[in-house]
Amino acid sequence: MIKICGVSKFYDDFKSLDAIHAEIADGSIFGLVGSNGSGKSTLLRVMSGIFRADSGEVLYDGENVYENVALKDRIVYLSDDQFFLPNATLGDMAKLYASVYSSFSWEEYNKLLNIFSLSSSRKIATFSKGMQKQAAILLGIAAKPRYLLCDETFDGLDPVMRQLVKRILADAVAEHGLTPIIASHNLRELEDICDHIGLLHKGGILFESEIDSLKENIHTVQAVFSREIGIEEIARIGGTVSIKQRGSMVTTVVRGTEDAVREKIEGLAPDFYEIIPLTLEEIFISEMEERGYDYTKVVF
C-alpha cells in the first residue's frame, strides 16, 4: 500500500505539489492523469525517492521512501526522458540494473528481449525513440520491482507496441503482484489498463477513484418522449448530472447503478430509452463539471 500523506513540493516559489493525499492499493494499476505542469512527474519523483518532499511523506507499507535503500530496491522509476549511460548497450544497462537491484532477473530480461525484439549488444543511442522507451520498460520490469512508476510511458510507442506493453504490465501485475503507477496527460491511454485513476491539477489531486466504480455509478440515458416534457421534470428524478433536450429526444447523465437509473427513467414513462455506458473521458467531464472545473482546461 502506497500512502501519500500531505506531500507538497516547491520549485523555488512555484508550488508544484500542494498537500497531496492519496492511497494506492497493492496490485492495482493506478493511472495519474493531468495536464502538462500539473505535477505528475514531480509526484512520481517524490514517490521514487529522487526528490525530497518539502512537507509530507510518501509511505510504502508504512515506510518513508526517501533515502530508504531497501524500499527503493523494490521501486523502479521510468522517466519520461529516459537516461542511459553514454555509449551503453542494452546489455550494459542490464548489468547496471542487475548490480543495483537485488531482484533483477536475467531470465525475465531475456524473455522480454525476445518479446520486444531488441538487441542486447546494440548501443542504445542508436535505438529509435520508441525502442529506447521499450528498452527502459524492459529493464524496469526485468528488475522485478513491486512498484513501477512510469512517467508518460506510452508516449512514443506505436499502437501495437502500446498494447504489448499494456499486456506485459498486466501480466506482471498478475504474476508478480506488481503495482504500476502510470502518469499520463492522455486519459484515453489509461482507460483500458488502469483500475484506479487520480486526476492531478495544479499540484493537487482533484479526485481519485476506482474506474469500475466510476463507470458503474454513472450512466448516460437517451430517451424519446412523445409527450411534452420539461427539463425540470426530468431533473426531478434526482442524480442528474446533465440534461440535454433536442425535440422529443432527451440525453441525460444520471448517477446511480444501472438498475437504479433504469427505475428512475422508467418512472418518466418514455416511449423509448437506452442506457449507454460512459467513456472514461465522459465520466471525467461529468465529474469535473460537477466540481465546477472546465474539464478541457484540466486535462487537455
Binding site: 535503500v69 527503493k72 537516461f83 550494459d92 543495483v100 537485488s102 522485478k144
Partner: protein
C-alpha cells in the same frame, strides 16, 4: 535466474563501483596521456639529452644534473596535476550536472553517500591507474639512463608525492565546488574562485588599506607567511622547493578529507531537482554573487586608482565594478541576460555596505593604522631596523626590549601627529619594521620611520645593538672574512667606493680592523664612520672564477659584507692612509672639469627646539631656515668641518646606529655665491643628510652643504655661541 543480492547501504557499493569504473575507461586514458606527456616523455627526452652531453662528466656531476632535470620535469608535472585534479573533480560529479542522469542515479536503490563515495573512489582509481602506469615507465626510463639511484629517487619521490597531494587538493576543491553547483562550467569556475578568491580578496583588501595608511606594514600582511595559506596554488608556489615535510603533508591530506566530507554533507542536502542550475542553493548563489562583487568592486577601484592615483577615479572604479559585476553575476546565475538587473535593491544594499567597509577599513576610521600595543599587552616582536631584513626572524620577548619598542613607536605617533619632524632624512632617522604579537597572539605589523630625536629612540637602538644577536651576526660576518683570507682567495677591495687595485693587504687590514673593532654593541656601532672597506670581488686563483660579493661567498646579509671604519680605529685609519677631507668639495664646471670650491660662508643652526609642520615635500623639514642660526667664521667652519665624516659612505648598519648630536647643524657654503643669486638650476641630494644647491651665476658656481655633528663633536664654545 534472479540475482540474489541485497542492495548495499555501505558507503561504497562495489557493484556500482565496478560498473562506474568500467564506464570511465576513457578517463583512465586521459590520466595516462597527461602523465605520459608530462612525466614519462620529458624524462625520456631530457635524460636522453643529458646522457648525450655527459661523456666527459663524472658520475657525480651526471647524477647531480639528472636530479636538477627531475626537479624541472616535476614542476611541469605539478601544473598538469592541478589541471588533472580539476578534470577528475568534474568527472566525479558529472552525473549531477544533468537532470536526466541525476534523476536516474538517485532513483536507484543507493544512498546519496554511497553514490558520492562510489563515484569519487572510482574517479580516483582511474587517475591512479593512469598515473601508476607512467610511474612504472618513468622508473624503467631512469633505470635505462642509469639514474635509478637513491640520490635521484630522493628527489623524485618527495616531489611526486607533493604533486599527488596538489592533485588531490585540486580534485577535492573541484568536488567541493561541484557539490553546490549543477553545471560543469560553473563548477570549474567555482573551483578557480575557491582557489583564488581568498588570496585575491585578501590581497585586494591589503592594497586598499595600504593606500590610506602610513604605518600599516603590508609587506608582512602580504607576505608568504600568510598568503601561502590562502590558496593551494600559493602554497605550492611558496613551498614546492622546500624539503618534504610529513606534518604539512598530513595536514594537507586532512584538509582534502575535510573538503571531500564537506562536499558529501552538501551533496546530501542538495535538491536533485536543481541539477543544471549554476548554484543549486538559491541563497548560496546570492551570497556568492555578493562575495564576488565585493572583490571585483575592490579591484576595479584599485585599477582606476592606478590610472591616475586619484580617489575620485577609484570611486568611479568602485561604481563600475559593483554595477557591472552585479549584472554579470545575475546573468550567469539566471543563465539569462534578462535577469541582469534582478534584485536591484540588493545592489543598493551592497553599495551602502561597501561604502561602509571602505570608510571604516580603507580610510582607517578607527585609527588602527597607528595602533601600537602597549608593553603589557605584547608577548613578543619580530623587529627589523636594518634594510637587510635578516633580523626579521629574530623574536624579541625581552620585556625591556618590548617596552622600549612600544614606547618609542607610541612617542613617534605623537611626534607625527604633533607635526614634529627630524631636520634631516637618513642619518637623523631610521626605519623600524615590527611585527608585534599581542598576548592573544594577534600580529600587529607596522612600519615606522623613527626620528632619532624621538623620545625613546636612542634607548631602543641601544638595547637593539647591545643584544647578543648583533654580536652573533657580526661574528658570522667576521668568520666569512676569515675564510676568505684562509682560503687564499684573491680579494679586490674598494675603500670609500674607490677601487684600490691591490694597494692593501687584506689579511693585514682585517687583522688591524678586528683588533680595534672590539665587540659589536651600541658603543661601537654608534661611533662615526670615516671610511668603508668593501670586498668588491673574491676570485678563486686557480680558475679565476669570481664570487663577486662576500654575500655570494658566504651566506651573510649584504649589509654585513662591508667593514665600516670607525673614527676611533686609529691604526686601521693610518693603514688606509685616508687623505680625503670632507671639506674638499668638488663640482663639475660648464666644461665638464672637476674643480674644487673654496669655503665661503659658515653657519650653525640651533636644532634644540624641533620645528613643527610638514613641508610640501612630505613629513621632512627640508628648509633649515626655520631653525635659529648664527653665522660663524669660515675658519671655525673649516675647523668644525674637519671633525665631520662624510655620511654618504655610511652603510645601513652605520647610519642606523650613528649617534647624532641633537643640538646643532653645521651649514657651509662653497664657491662664489652672489647676493642676488639667480639660480637657473637647482638640485638637492639629501639621502645622507647632505643638501646641495647648484646654481650658475655670472661669477661662477656655488654649492651649499649641511652637516649634522656626531655626538660629542660640537665644542662647548660653539654651543655657548648658540646660547
Amino acid at each position: 535466474m534472479t540475482t540474489q543480492k541485497l542492495s548495499s547501504e555501505k558507503l561504497l557499493d562495489f557493484s556500482l563501483f565496478k560498473n562506474m569504473t568500467r564506464r570511465r575507461l576513457p578517463h583512465i586514458l586521459v590520466a595516462f596521456l597527461v602523465n605520459f606527456f608530462t612525466l614519462s616523455v620529458p624524462i625520456m627526452m631530457m635524460l636522453g639529452d643529458l646522457q648525450e652531453r655527459s661523456l666527459n662528466w663524472t658520475v657525480k656531476k651526471y647524477i647531480g644534473r639528472a636530479a636538477e632535470t627531475m626537479q624541472e620535469i616535476l614542476v611541469l608535472h605539478l601544473v598538469f596535476m592541478f589541471i588533472l585534479g580539476i578534470y577528475f573533480g568534474v568527472i566525479s560529479l558529472g552525473y549531477m550536472m544533468k537532470r536526466r542522469s541525476a534523476h536516474f542515479y538517485h532513483a536507484l536503490p543507493q544512498r546519496r553517500e554511497t553514490l558520492y563515495t562510489t563515484s569519487i573512489v572510482s574517479a580516483l582509481l582511474c587517475a591512479v591507474v593512469g598515473g601508476l602506469i607512467n610511474l612504472c615507465i618513468a622508473l624503467v626510463e631512469m633505470g635505462v639512463y642509469s639514474v635509478l639511484v637513491p640520490e635521484i629517487l630522493g628527489v623524485f619521490f618527495p616531489l611526486l608525492v607533493k604533486n599527488i597531494v596538489f592533485f588531490l587538493a585540486a580534485y577535492a576543491i573541484t568536488v567541493f565546488a561541484g557539490s553546490f553547483s549543477g553545471n560543469g562550467v560553473v563548477q570549474v569556475l567555482m573551483t578557480v574562485v575557491i582557489m583564488a578568491y581568498p588570496i585575491a580578496t585578501y590581497e585586494g583588501m591589503i592594497l586598499l588599506h595600504n593606500l590610506h595608511t602610513t604605518y600599516f606594514y603590508s609587506g608582512y600582511y602580504g607576505s608568504d607567511k600568510i598568503m601561502q595559506w590562502l590558496s593551494p596554488i600559493a602554497y605550492a608556489g611558496y613551498n614546492y622547493w622546500g624539503e618534504f615535510k610529513i606534518l604539512p603533508t598530513l595536514l594537507a591530506l586532512l584538509v582534502i578529507a575535510v573538503l571531500l566530507l564537506g562536499g558529501m554533507a552538501i551533496y546530501r542536502g542538495r535538491a536533485i531537482e536543481n541539477s543544471e542550475r549554476p548554484i543549486v542553493f538559491k541563497k548560496l548563489g546570492t551570497v556568492l554573487k555578493f562575495m564576488l562583487m565585493f572583490t571585483v568592486t575592490m579591484y576595479a577601484g584599485l585599477f582606476f586608482y592606478a590610472i591616475n592615483e586619484s580617489i575620485p577615479y577609484m570611486i568611479f572604479g568602485f561604481v563600475c565594478g559593483a554595477v557591472l559585476s552585479f549584472m554579470l553575476f545575475n546573468t550567469i546565475l539566471a543563465k539569462s541576460p534578462k535577469a541582469m538587473f534582478k534584485g536591484i535593491r540588493g545592489l543598493a544594499v551592497f553599495a551602502v555596505a561597501f561604502a561602509l567597509y571602505y570608510t571604516v577599513f580603507g580610510l582607517d576610521v578607527f585609527g588602527m593604522d597607528d595602533y601600537v600595543p602597549s608593553a603589557e599587552n605584547l608577548s613578543r616582536a619580530e623587529i627589523t631596523v636594518l634594510s637587510t631584513g635578516d633580523y626579521e626572524d629574530d623574536h624579541f620577548d625581552d620585556p625591556e626590549m618590548l617596552a622600549a619598542l612600544s614606547t618609542m613607536l607610541q612617542n613617534q605617533n605623537k611626534a607625527d601627529s604633533d607635526g614634529v619632524y627630524a631636520p634631516y632624512r637618513g642619518v637623523a632617522e631610521f626605519y623600524v619594521t615590527a611585527i608585534m604579537y599581542t598576548k592573544l597572539g594577534i600580529p600587529v605589523a607596522r612600519h615606522y620611520t623613527v626620528s632619532k630625536y624621538t623620545d625613546g629612540a636612542q634607548e631602543f637602538l641601544r638595547l637593539y645593538a647591545d643584544d647578543a644577536r648583533m654580536q652573533a651576526q657580526m661574528d658570522k660576518a667576521f668568520d666569512a672574512f676569515e675564510r676568505v683570507i684562509e682560503g687564499g682567495y684573491t680579494v679586490e677591495l674598494r675603500v670609500n667606493n674607490v677601487y684600490t687595485e691591490g694597494q692593501y693587504d687584506f689579511a693585514k687590514l682585517f687583522k688591524l680592523y678586528k683588533e680595534e673593532y672590539g665587540i659589536a654593541n651600541y658603543e661601537r656601532l654608534s661611533k662615526p664612520v670615516v671610511a668603508t672597506v668593501e670586498i668588491h670581488n673574491i676570485l678563486i686563483p686557480e680558475t679565476g672564477a669570481s664570487y663577486y660579493a662576500l654575500h655570494n661567498f658566504a651566506d651573510i646579509p649584504y649589509d654585513l659584507q662591508y667593514l665600516p671604519v670607525y673614527a676611533d680605529m686609529t691604526k686601521t685609519i693610518a693603514y688606509l692612509d685616508l687623505e680625503e677631507s670632507v671639506l674638499e668639495q668638488t663640482y663639475e664646471n660648464e666644461f665638464g672639469e672637476v674643480v674644487s670650491a673654496p669655503l665661503t660662508a659658515a653657519y650653525i643652526y640651533d636644532t634644540r627646539e624641533p620645528v613643527t609642520g610638514a613641508t610640501s615635500e612630505g613629513r621632512y623639514v627640508e628648509n633649515l631656515d626655520e631653525y635659529p642660526r648664527i653665522e660663524i667664521s669660515t675658519e671655525l667652519g673649516k675647523e668644525l668641518g674637519d671633525m665631520l665624516v662624510n655620511c654618504s659612505r655610511y652603510t645601513t648598519l652605520s647610519r642606523v646606529f650613528f649617534a647624532l648630536d641633537t643640538d646643532c647643524v653645521l651649514y657651509l657654503e662653497f664657491g662664489d655665491k652672489s647676493a642676488d643669486s639667480n639660480e637657473s638650476e637647482e638640485y638637492y641630494y639629501d639621502e645622507y643628510g647632505l643638501k646641495y644647491y647648484y646654481g650658475t651665476q655670472e661669477s661662477g658656481y656655488y654649492m651649499d652643504n649641511a652637516y649634522v655633528f656626531p655626538l660629542g663633536y660640537v665644542p662647548e664654545e660653539v654651543k655657548a655661541l648658540l646660547d
